[in-house]
Symmetry: C2
């Protein structure tokens, strides 16, 4: 099961932090990378910085043509799901997504209407307005039965020792 | 089990959208309300607008003194947990939080060091940097075994009919 996020509708200034949260959440919770349908090198830089320090090989690609990316993913046999509060509820459709190569479309406020049709499945994390970051986290977690929370990363320079109180970080020099 | 979010470290301009996402996620996923340790009426307005349209009785209180709020919560027998990547991993501590009245502290970038000690438990959604919105979603979901995704709200003016493709919304007039 390969998981890739396609972030669309990103507006460079307004969405900088939310899109960064989308990317970091994707990385932390087991996705392979994020395709960003906007040309914003700062997003890539800040996520790449995290990957350099905290490990793994999460990729960020900017300036992606979303129509082309969706088409290619489908041609390779992958499933395309669009996270939206208008979709079918996550617990009802988790099983049909499991063990598929998934492109997960995460829109900002305005999503081109074509996305709803191009997606094989529109999926909601509850039918309420909340946050694309929260919805992505829940989708990734349910798909992997929470196992992603225990995953470790290769090539780590900085690592946390979990503590009930206080902070402990090991830095490799 | 009563769940309340305490949002600290909020900076009015910089954190406006992330704090709104924290509040909406808390509401959508079963928390009773959000205490905001900052005086930012716009956050309250935008979350209250969502509650008016989409139902329920989620509360937002602004200008909260966090030390006082934590003290009162503990005096009433509640448990205080702080979401931080430095904490114990969620799957390892879910059972000790379940069925408790929980104050969930969600910090922005800078959190006063005292919080780590005042909390009964520091809890991480994976020991990786990602997003407080994602971490909150995962905590609320794990505490409620995903049942919160199927909850309904009272006093609804706008309601979604989940669809595989397209959008359907019922508006009460």
């Amino acid at each position: 099961m390969k998981l890739v996020v396609l972030r669309i509708g990103h507006r460079p200034v307004r969405d900088k932090r939310i899109t960064t949260h989308v990317g970091l959440t994707a990385r932390a919770l087991g996705a392979s990378g994020m395709l960003l349908a906007a040309d914003d090198p700062k997003i890539k830089e800040s996520i790449d910085d995290v990957t350099r320090a905290w490990g793994g090989d999460f990729f960020v690609e900017i300036g992606v043509n979303w129509r082309e990316a969706i088409k290619q993913w489908k041609e390779q046999g992958g499933m395309v799901v669009h996270l939206t509060m208008y979709g079918l509820n996550l617990p009802d459709v988790t099983s049909e997504m499991q063990n598929r190569d998934l492109m997960i479309i995460v829109g900002a406020e305005k999503v081109p209407p074509a996305i709803y049709d191009l997606a094989d499945l529109n999926v909601a994390a509850g039918s309420q307005p909340h946050s694309e970051v929260a919805a992505l986290a829940l989708l990734l977690d349910h798909l992997q039965d929470g196992r992603e929370l225990a995953r470790t990363f290769d090539g780590v320079r900085r690592e946390i020792v979990p503590m009930r109180k206080g902070k402990m970080v090991i830095e490799q020099t």
